[in-house]
């Protein structure tokens, strides 16, 4: 039985989750549009469909907690508080981008909000998350490291090395696997001997659980519980959130390896309309109130695109900057 929304969070917070999911979706869909126009180039991996994971998880963390992710990370950065204008400018390759146009879609970073990076080598963020958690403990800071990754990353050596290490050193790391069932075009059963990913942690004696990654409230509750557990015990914890990306792996991928029936099944579980329905059914908001939120999100993304379009390109001299201190 699902918990009534108001027993979980106050109205304002419940609506904020909706707003964050909506702005994430809107941002990604506008990215796709700008990519087809040629304004965004290079690799572009969109998050549409997975919003409940980033939004629910971020709500379950403290602002001081570190967040690291892979290369499908626009939503994680924006939900954490990155300025959508500067994220869009980064995707456009402009000097005003969040990484001055040096990073691009896959390498967002904003230490002012403890968003410690998007990493584009699969599994690269595992040990870095462990190191940040060690630094936090060493310095006596009350924060944990939340490490997001996909189902494809769990067969990298760094996954096993880092799970072992985090448990061995008793470090506050929350591993959050966004299982969207595909590593590019390879379905999880074709890459993992044990496709039920949360069970992988038994080799490291690490507690884990599986959660419905299409339900923002379920993710929020699981992550909040897990994060507090990690904080209290200074031990790692593992969450597998099952989810689905509505688009291909990247803009270059038409996703022909997935059946129409499978797509339809997951589209019916789209976290946005389903959550909107609950908000209305439980009298947290009217359709009109949600419409006002949606309009605000669209305006915000419009402004982001405009900002990116009007921003200057980096100077040529920038190629030699910011490599060494």
């Amino acid at each position: 039985m699902e918990a009534r929304l108001r027993t979980v969070l106050p109205d304002q917070e419940l609506l904020r989750l909706y707003e964050q999911m909506f702005v994430s979706r809107e941002f990604e869909e506008r990215c796709a549009e700008q990519y087809t126009k040629g304004h965004i180039t290079g690799f572009l991996h969109l998050y549409s469909g997975q919003e409940a994971v980033a939004v629910g998880a971020t709500a379950g963390l403290h602002r001081d907690d570190y967040i690291l992710s892979a290369y499908r990370e626009h939503a994680q950065a924006i939900v954490r508080g990155a300025d959508p204008r500067r994220v869009m400018a980064e995707l456009f390759g402009k000097a005003t981008g969040i990484c001055k146009g040096k990073g691009g879609s896959m390498h967002l970073f904003d230490p002012s909000i403890n968003f410690m990076g998007g990493y584009a080598i699969v599994g690269g963020q595992f040990p870095i998350s462990v190191g940040l958690a060690f630094a936090a403990r060493y310095r006596g800071e009350d924060r944990i490291a939340a490490c997001f990754f996909g189902d494809g990353a769990v067969n990298q050596g760094t996954f096993h090395e880092s799970l072992n290490w985090a448990q061995l050193w008793q470090l506050p790391v929350l591993f959050i696997c966004e299982n969207n069932f595909y590593g590019i075009g390879t379905e999880v059963h074709r890459s993992s001997a044990l496709a039920s990913i949360h069970k992988r942690t038994c080799g490291y004696d690490m507690p884990s659980e599986k959660v419905d990654g299409m339900d923002v409230i379920a993710v929020y509750r699981a992550v909040k519980y897990a994060a507090e557990k990690v904080r209290e015990t200074s031990r790692p914890y593992f969450i597998e959130a099952t989810t689905y990306r509505f688009r291909g792996h990247s803009m270059a991928d038409p996703a022909k390896y997935r059946s129409a029936a499978e797509n339809e099944m997951w589209k019916a579980r789209d976290p946005l309309p389903n959550y909107a329905k609950r908000l209305i059914e439980e009298d947290v908001a009217t359709r009109e109130a949600l419409g006002a939120i949606e309009a605000r999100c669209r305006t915000s993304v419009d402004e982001a695109v405009k900002f990116a379009e009007e921003s200057p390109w980096p100077e040529d001299s920038a190629v030699w900057e910011d490599i060494y201190v």
């Binding site: 990484c99 040096k102 904003d110 990076g117 310095r139 760094t158 090395e161 880092s162 060494y324």
Partner: protein, 328 residues
Amino acid sequence: MSEMTYRDAVNLALKEEMRRDASVFVLGEDVALYEGSFKVTRGLLAEFGEERVKDTPISENTIIGVSIGAAMGGLRPVAELMTVNFALLAMDQIVNHMAKIRSMFGGQTFLPMTIRMPGGGGSQLGAQHSQSLETYFMHCPGMYVLYPATPADAKGLLKSAIRNNNPVIFLEHELLYNSKGEVPEDPEYSIPIGKADVKRPGEDVTIVAYARMSILALEAAEELAKDGISCEVLDLRSLAPLDEAAILASVRKTGRAVVIEECWRTCGLGAEITSRIYENCFDILKAPVKRISGLDVPMPYSRKIEKICIPQPVNIRQAVMDVMSGEY
């Protein structure tokens, strides 16, 4: 000044920097209880305790990744990779992450971390434990590469590396650990990164070398002096950044150059240095530049043939005489 081994000089630099700065910590395979497989971390666990001297699993890639995270989180890690050969397991974190993070994140963070790696050949350890991989690291922008020849330089350079806010690869030559030399006792003594050192001034020919090759070059220069040939031995100390100005200044003075590298010849650092000499000093060269390199082979075990694969003083003497005679 006091006389000590290269090993003890590295050890002293670690201790001094750990005493000076509580954010410095050491991690690596067998560095704590076992005190390092080359005993370089002797006494650290006893003095600094378990939170600052960390034994790690045999997970080289993660040793570097954890160091990156720790550096990003405000610490100053000094990682030991048991030998440079094992760095190949960590090249993802070294090259794809450590060397890129500051730049690709727009300068919003920095990684004040050092990776110590014993390396080099000549101990009959076979193909997988005898490599000289300095060129691999030099090739990649975004990090510094240091490789000292003497105990004094080892101490001074390691202190600079640990205090530096960039990632530093700090190579130590396994065959130099027991070599002795005078080392300044001043805990503030350090050697600047990026500065080569004229270990022996001379007039006729410049020998450009580094680490153990500098020691062999000095031996060769001593012998050659008896034959009336005056060699200038330039010890690079920093491989990245490379002190090109010092190399060119010395070659402009002598008009001749022999470049020695312990690593493989093909695309080795000797090729890079030789190229820079030709690009900048062609007009004043009195003879073609000569390279002495490790042979382009996987290192054999047998001591009779291992020796052939690593530059020896006799090779250096011959190269200098060839350059002096104009024969090539």
